[in-house]
């Protein structure tokens, strides 16, 4: 597999990062301690390089109608300036990727797929756009994405924004985006800033051309250090999203799974008038009750002991296999092990006591409501 480097690879090397392969990219796993990075995001702020994520522009008079057809959500109902979490499905309802789409104008959307799926999603969108007056342009290769996440994220971002544009940031709602002036090395340029993230904290994601990324990264680190900002790697990103109960493609979501079992039923708009890829299959799955009244569904598990469940471990009820863990680790914020698992629906009610086979030893866990962690607003 090719090991792509983001435009910020040199910055990570300078900061002493250890790297990991993720979706074909060499990404920082951690810089110092993943626990310290996790706590920084919960209590102050963390800086993430997310340039491995994909960016695909969908433009044209039919952009909204096309996305209504290509994705499971009703993208035409998204107001300009807002964002929507959605799924791109197969004909049989299987999940090809989960993605966020930003409506930038009546006929322009920025679609953001996961790193490992970016090329697939871009190709599929192009294929599905046949018959629509809409252009699909994959700009993943030339676009960087920097995220500032944590309670101090707004103050840190504002330190780089001209005062007359502060309101754009302070009044930006969650899951919204705007072109905001950002001043780096004395020059101010407009960049797409979104109030989104994958950490369970307030925060911003900034899209920009690769060439501009290192200077913005350095400026954010410099301006943020007095507010507790440190660079944070994928290890912290994973533990943060898990605490926030957010699914990770490849762990909780897959081509063999579907939205209803993953708890993402509301993301699927069967009510939209238009057809969409997977609609008939998803309607049948919903009708069958799979993942809701039968089969397995995604639940949160809380460990009673200190040992963590990990991906692919078997969930047991009285010694019999009733499920499988998809993600799990000790929760740095909560102090006990947490896990996401697909469990037989009859054993999936909150409060159900289950065991997880931890390398041959059954350890007690309890089904709990998601998310594990919710920030105080």
């Amino acid at each position: 597999m090719t090991e792509n480097h983001t435009a910020l690879y040199g910055e990570h090397e300078k900061a002493g990062a250890s790297f990991t392969d993720f979706g074909g990219w060499q990404m920082p796993l951690k810089y110092s301690s993943e626990l310290a990075e996790h706590h920084a995001v919960r209590n102050a702020a963390g800086l993430f390089d997310l340039s491995h994520m994909g960016e695909v522009w969908v433009t044209g008079p039919d952009a909204a109608a096309f996305l209504d057809y290509a994705l499971a959500g009703k993208l035409s109902a998204v107001a300009v300036g807002k964002a929507k979490y959605s799924l791109i499905c197969k004909d049989d309802g299987g999940i090809i990727d989960d993605l966020i789409s930003y409506r930038r104008s009546a006929d322009r959307y920025l679609v953001v797929p996961n790193a490992g799926n970016a090329a697939t999603v871009a190709a599929l969108l192009a294929e599905r756009s046949a018959g629509f007056d809409a252009a699909v342009e994959n700009v993943s290769g030339e676009t960087s994405l920097i995220a500032v996440q944590g309670p101090n994220a707004e103050a840190i971002l504002l330190s780089l924004v001209p005062e007359d544009q502060h309101q754009l940031v302070t009044e930006m709602k969650y899951y919204s985006a705007a072109e905001v002036g950002i001043t780096v090395n004395g020059a101010t340029g407009k960049l797409l800033v979104a109030r989104t993230g994958y950490t369970g904290e307030d925060g911003f994601e900034i899209y920009l051309p690769n060439a501009a990324a290192p200077a913005l990264w350095q400026a954010l680190l410099e301006n943020g250090k007095d507010r507790g900002l440190i660079p944070a790697g994928l290890a912290a990103r994973d533990s943060l999203r898990l605490e926030a109960g957010m699914p990770l493609y490849g762990n909780e979501l897959s081509r063999d799974g579907h939205a209803y079992a993953a708890g993402l039923g509301p993301v699927v708009s069967l009510a939209k008038e238009s057809d969409f890829v997977g609609k008939a299959a998803l309607a049948a799955i919903k009708e069958s009750g799979d993942g809701v009244t039968s089969g397995r569904r995604l639940v949160g598990l809380k460990g009673m002991g200190r040992r963590a469940a990990r991906g692919h471990y078997t969930v047991l009820k009285d010694g019999a296999a009733v499920g499988e863990v998809t993600s799990g680790q000790p929760s740095p914020t909560l102090g006990y092990p947490v896990a996401l698992a697909y469990v037989d629906v009859e054993h999936s009610a909150v409060g159900t006591r289950l065991d997880v086979d931890l390398r041959g030893k059954a350890e007690p866990f309890e089904v709990v409501a998601l998310p594990f962690y919710k920030r105080q607003k």
Partner: protein, 127 residues
């Protein structure tokens, strides 16, 4: 580069052994291992009085991201475990060759062990 301490012996599985020739020997894990593991959050050690066998697993070390088996570098009876490291495993990260030691063994036989130079050369550590 991870630190390797000159006066210790090492197993290929990243345990270190400190013996002064008289009393029980002390076992811990190397900085190479702790840096690869990340933040250690749980450690499962053999019990005092248990017999461990060189080259066989005798416990577990769990970090935020992964779980690793702990291998005994020697054969013998466990005489003491580091309760402080069980209580607060972060000390294994912060001081793997000191306060982060794991257990002591009355050694009957050593397994195949490496010198500090050999271990450092094999694992990219620095003496």
């Amino acid at each position: 580069m991870s630190k390797v301490v000159a006066e210790l012996k090492y197993s290929a599985e990243h345990e270190w052994l400190a013996s002064d020739g008289a009393g029980p020997s002390t076992v811990g894990v190397t900085a190479v291992a702790t840096e690869a593991l990340g933040d250690i959050v749980y450690v499962d050690l053999p019990e005092v009085g248990a017999t461990v066998t060189a080259g066989e697993t005798c416990g577990e070390i769990e970090s935020t991201k992964s779980v690793s088996d702990l291998y005994a570098p020697v054969t013998g009876q466990v005489t003491e475990v580091n309760a402080a490291a069980v209580e607060d495993p972060a000390v294994i990260n912060s001081d793997p060759y000191g306060a982060g030691w794991l257990f002591k063994v009355a050694v009957d036989a050593e397994g195949p062990l490496l010198t500090a130079e050999e271990y450092a050369a094999a694992n990219g550590g620095t003496l």
